[in-house]
Subunit: 223 residues, 2 copies
DNA sequence: TGTTGTGAATCTCTTCACAGCT
DNA sequence: AGCTGTGAAGAGATTCACAACA
């Protein structure tokens, strides 16, 4: 999808990448970071493909979205490519995230996340159980739900992660949207209704495991 | 994909459903369970679509995989449909799962899972830190890694969930495969290499959140 | 020669449109 | 009249195949 805007005589080309491409670029970037740390300077499309478990033509196709320029017989410059991918993924400046639902999963995400990622940070966590407010978990402050709107606005938080139960997910989503958030990662096993313009990404663990169960069973039978 | 086998004069039709269809059927089934508990007997394709956040033609298309038969003007019988979906998803008898990596995320999955799901059960959890062995977490026994092969075989465990760090994921996958497992759900942020026939499902949380970041940013700019 | 960059072909997934049933 | 079931069209994602290049 492409959108060209002509603003004051200057052309802005807005290119919305395909969903799958974004996923893979995110992965490539992480792989490239590792390569960079290992002191590798150049990498071929088939090597990156090997590390990402896909094909070299897939890699080259994805890199068409990036303003990259590899050199035949030498490959792509690792640091340069990493940089260019970050450009198109547009998360170079720190993006702030709110997490709602401080259960086991929420805690796991806090510790998991605030270790690694530099540009994406969970800066506030909320729970309906106000007993859980006023602490610091993995470097993240916790608050009562009643503080959500205020904190999100004060801290200019742009994204939300929902790790509450299915029954409460919709209510939480509504509050996040009202607070001004524009993207949600939803772990609750329920689809969310939100106004257009809010991007929702869903991780449904039950479905994923049922999918593994299905396909491994089918694989066995197809033998 | 269809495969027809002619065994002793009897035709076996093996129909491998599309990946996305399996995902949605898994969701439909859960929705239908809820409907059933609420005492609802019939449901229309557009109602199911509404609840699953998709279109009625999508629902009807998916249900073509199921031997269902809805009635025009009445819809589908809820319990019957649920039953038929379970048939094609092929997980009617209990499927046993091993979890490797008893960190925050592992614990979250144990409590999250062994509450709900009846047919899918995490029956054993493993960790390289043998301090964590010999306990019971959310009804699941924990063991040292050295017991993995034995327990998987003894208990006829078919699936594995990997919640260890990226560096250790491949090693764990190899052990699971060697123990005889044929499907893996991988939470580690690293792609796994496994022999053909082993189905791998990946949940990459970092990628998911980067995807939300990307698309919500793009949405903002396209306004 | 070996690898990149990309049009074209293929495959997969979703939506449309409408015949057929009750 | 209203909804189901499905062929056919459309959109999206992947693979193929090869010209261009260092």
């Amino acid at each position: 999808v492409k959108k060209v805007t002509n603003l004051m005589g200057v052309k802005f080309i807005m290119n919305k990448m395909a969903s799958k491409t974004v996923e893979r670029l995110s992965l490539y970037r992480r792989i490239l970071s590792e390569m960079e740390q290992k002191g590798l300077h150049y990498i071929h499309s088939h090597q990156l493909a090997e590390l990402a478990n896909n094909s070299s033509s897939q890699v080259r196709r994805d890199l068409m979205e990036v303003d990259c320029s590899g050199v035949p017989r030498r490959g792509y410059n690792v640091s340069c490519l990493k940089e260019k991918i970050s450009n198109v993924l547009k998360d170079s400046d720190e993006i702030k995230i709110a997490l709602v639902g401080i259960g086991n999963l929420g805690r796991a995400l806090l510790s998991y996340f605030n270790m690694r990622s530099k540009n994406l940070k969970i800066v506030a966590a909320f729970d309906s159980d106000s007993e859980k407010a006023g602490r610091v978990i993995s470097g993240c402050r916790t608050y009562a739900m009643s503080d959500l709107k205020r904190i999100v606005k004060e801290q200019k938080i742009g994204l939300g992660i929902i790790t509450v139960s299915a029954d409460n997910a919709q209510k939480v989503a509504d509050e996040l949207v009202e607070a001004g958030i524009c993207g949600i990662l939803n772990f609750a096993p329920a689809p969310l209704k939100t106004p257009k313009g809010i991007h929702i990404e869903r991780i449904d663990i039950t479905t994923s495991i049922e999918k593994v169960a299905y396909f491994s069973e089918i694989n066995k039978r197809l033998r």
